[in-house]
Amino acid sequence: MISEEKLKILTESAKYDVSCSSSGSNRKNEGGTGNGYVAGCCHSFTPDGRCISLLKMLLSNDCIFRCKYCMSRADSDVPRVTATPEEVCELVMDFYKRNYIEGLFLSSAVHRSPDYAMEQLLVTVKKLRTEYHFHGYIHLKGIPHADEKLVREAALYADRMSYNIELPSEQSLKLLAPQKSKESLLLPMRQLQRERNIFKAEKRKGHFLPAGQTTQMIVGASPEPDGQILRLTQSLYRVTGLKRVYYSSYMPVVHDSLLPEVPAGERREHRLYQADWLLRFYGFSAEEIVEEDGNLSLELDPKCAWAMRNLHLFPIEVNRAPLEALLRVPGIGARSAYKILEARKYTKLDFSGLKKMRVVLKRARHFITAGGKFYGAEGEAIRGYLGAAEAKQNAVQLSLFSDRETVLSALTGEL
C-alpha cells in the first residue's frame, strides 16, 4: 500500500489541474472490474466546491523542467517522491471497488527525461488495463517532447488524454515555461486527433481515446486578453477537435519576478467558462462574443452582454421562435429551451406557464414575449436590471478579515 505521505505529496502537486470529468467514454467491462459512465459521475465534493470524480495524482513530482508557475519545477525546494506503477494500480483498484472514484487521472512531472516520464505513465496504464483488468475511466496527461510512439500506444489504453497548453500565447510560454514550446504541445494533440479519426473511420477493434482530448490554460499569469483566449479556444474546438478547454485562474503558489503577485480574479475565470459554453452549446462564435483585443465584461455575463449589443433582435415570441433564437435569450439555458419546445406543442405558453416550468425569467423577461405580452424593461434600462440581478448574487457579509476590495465594493455597491 502506498504511504500516506507519498500520496499526499503526489496529490497536492496534481490538485491545481482543473479537469476532473469522467464523461464521454462508454467502455464496457470486459471480464474484469469497472466500466465507463458516459454522463460522468461525481463521487464526492471537497470544501472548495470541486468534485472528486477521478483519483488525481502525479506518478512523480521530480521534474527537470523549470516552468515558473509550477510548484514542482526543478529549482524548487520541495520533497521529491515517485510512485511505482504497482502502487498506483493497487490504489486505483482498492479505491474503485469501494466506489470512492470513477477512475484515474494520472499525470507526471518530467522525471529524468520526457521519454522516461511518458514511458512510466504508459507502463502504469498498460498494467492497469492488462494485468489488473481495469475497465474504468483513465485520463492520462501527455508529456511534451515525448516520443510519438509512446504517445500513440498510451492512447490505446487511456479514455482521454490531455496536453496542457498552459499559456495562451507563444511569447508567454517562452517566458514562463522555457522548455515547453507551442509545437511540443500542439503537434501531439494534432497527431492524436488524426489517428483517432483514422481509428474511427476504419472501425478498428479496441479503443483509441474514446473520450477524446482536452486541454487547460492558466489565465491571468500572462497579459493575453479574453478575446485572444476565446479565439484560441474556438480553433481548438473547431480545428483540433478537442472536447473541452479548461481555464484555471492564476494563483501565486510560487514566487517569481516574472509572475504577478496577485491571483487572477475568479470572476474572470467564470466569465471565460460562460463564454466557452456559448461556443460549444449555444451556437455562438468567438467573434460575436468579444473583439480580439477586448476582455469580457465582468459586470454582465457574455450572453447578456451580447444581447445588449443586439437589442434590435429582441424581444422574441416564445411560442414561435426557433430553437437557435431561444438559446440566445439571456437566462434561457439549453434545458429550458428544450422544455419550451416540447410544451408549446400542446398549449400556448404565457408567463405563468413559463414560471411553472421553472424557466428563470429574471433576465429572460426583458428579451421575450409570451402570448404577445411583454413584461420587461426597454432599451438601455435593461442594463440596470441585469446588473442588479448579478450584484445581488455577489453580496457578502462584511468581516474584519475581508480584503479591501470586497469591503469597498460592498460599501459602494460597485464591482
Binding site: K15, T33, C41, F45, T46, P47, N99, E342, K345, L349
Partner: protein
C-alpha cells in the same frame, strides 16, 4: 372518499380503477387525519383488476408503467396523489402526456420522477462500500426514495467479481448481489466483520480527500449544494478519526 392502499403497484392500480370515476377521490398509502364524516375505503390488491387497468393504460402510453413504478418509489408525502393525477391525465388525454410541461399534474409528476432518478444517479457516486472479511462488499444507505434495488444493475456491471449488499437502513431492506443473482430481502441490522486492510484504505482515502482540496478557495455552500449533508452519514471522508 379516501382510498387507502398498501403502496404496491398492484394495489395502486386496483384503487385507481375504483377511484377513477370519483372526482373528489383521495388516494393514500400513508396515514392521514380524517375529517368528520369522511368516507374511507381500504383497497386490497386485486391482481385481476390491476391487470385490467394496466392493460388499458399501456394501450394509451407504453411507458406509463415505468413512470408509475418510479413515482411510487418517491419519498414525497404527496406521491400517491401525484401518481393518481398523472395516470388520470393519461386516461383523459388518451395518450402520453409527459411532454405537456405546462400542465400542473404532469409537471408535478415529472418533477417527482426527476427527483427519484436524480437520487439514483447521486448514489452511483455517493454510495460507499466497505470490504468484509470474506471479501464481500457492504454499503449502508439512507436514501429519500425507495431506490436500493435500482442501484443493483450499475454496481453489478461494474463489480461482477464482488458479491455486495446495499442496505437501505431506513426502509430496513437490502439489495443483494450474491455473485450470480440479484435480489431484494428485508434486513433489519447487519453485523459486518471488516477485512484486515479496510480501516487503512479508509484512512488513505481520507488523506487523499484532505490533500486534493484547495483551502484558499473555500466554497462550502457550493459543496453542500452538490452534495447535501444528509448524504454524508456513510461516507468515510466525513467520519471523525
Amino acid at each position: 372518499m379516501i382510498y387507502f392502499y398498501d403502496g404496491t403497484q398492484t394495489s395502486f392500480l386496483t384503487a385507481f380503477l375504483l377511484a377513477y370515476g370519483d372526482a373528489d377521490a383521495v388516494l393514500t398509502s400513508g396515514s392521514m387525519q380524517l375529517a368528520l364524516g369522511e368516507e374511507t375505503r381500504f383497497v386490497k390488491a386485486d391482481p385481476a383488476r390491476a391487470k385490467k387497468a394496466e392493460k388499458r393504460l399501456l394501450a394509451l402510453d407504453a411507458g406509463c408503467m415505468e413512470d408509475l413504478s418510479t413515482l411510487l418509489r418517491s419519498g414525497d408525502c404527496d406521491r400517491d396523489m401525484v401518481a393518481m393525477n398523472y395516470m388520470r391525465r393519461i386516461a383523459e388525454q388518451g395518450g402520453p402526456v409527459r411532454n405537456m410541461l405546462a400542465d400542473d399534474a404532469v409537471l408535478a409528476a415529472v418533477e417527482c420522477m426527476r427527483r427519484v432518478s436524480f437520487e439514483v444517479h447521486r448514489f452511483h457516486g455517493f454510495l460507499r462500500f466497505m470490504e468484509s472479511e470474506s471479501g464481500a462488499l457492504y454499503a449502508p444507505i439512507s436514501p429519500d426514495n425507495d431506490i436500493a434495488d435500482l442501484l443493483l444493475p450499475h454496481f453489478r456491471k461494474r463489480l461482477p467479481a464482488y458479491p455486495f449488499v446495499i442496505h437501505d437502513v431506513r426502509r430496513k431492506k437490502a439489495a443483494v448481489y450474491d455473485g450470480v443473482n440479484t435480489f431484494v430481502a428485508p434486513l433489519e441490522r447487519a453485523e459486518v466483520v471488516l477485512s484486515a486492510d479496510e480501516t487503512a484504505w479508509q484512512a488513505l482515502w481520507k488523506n487523499y480527500y484532505r490533500s486534493v482540496n484547495i483551502p484558499s478557495r473555500e466554497r462550502l455552500k457550493q459543496m453542500r449544494g452538490y452534495m447535501p449533508v444528509r448524504y454524508w452519514k456513510f461516507m468515510p471522508e466525513f467520519r471523525g478519526e
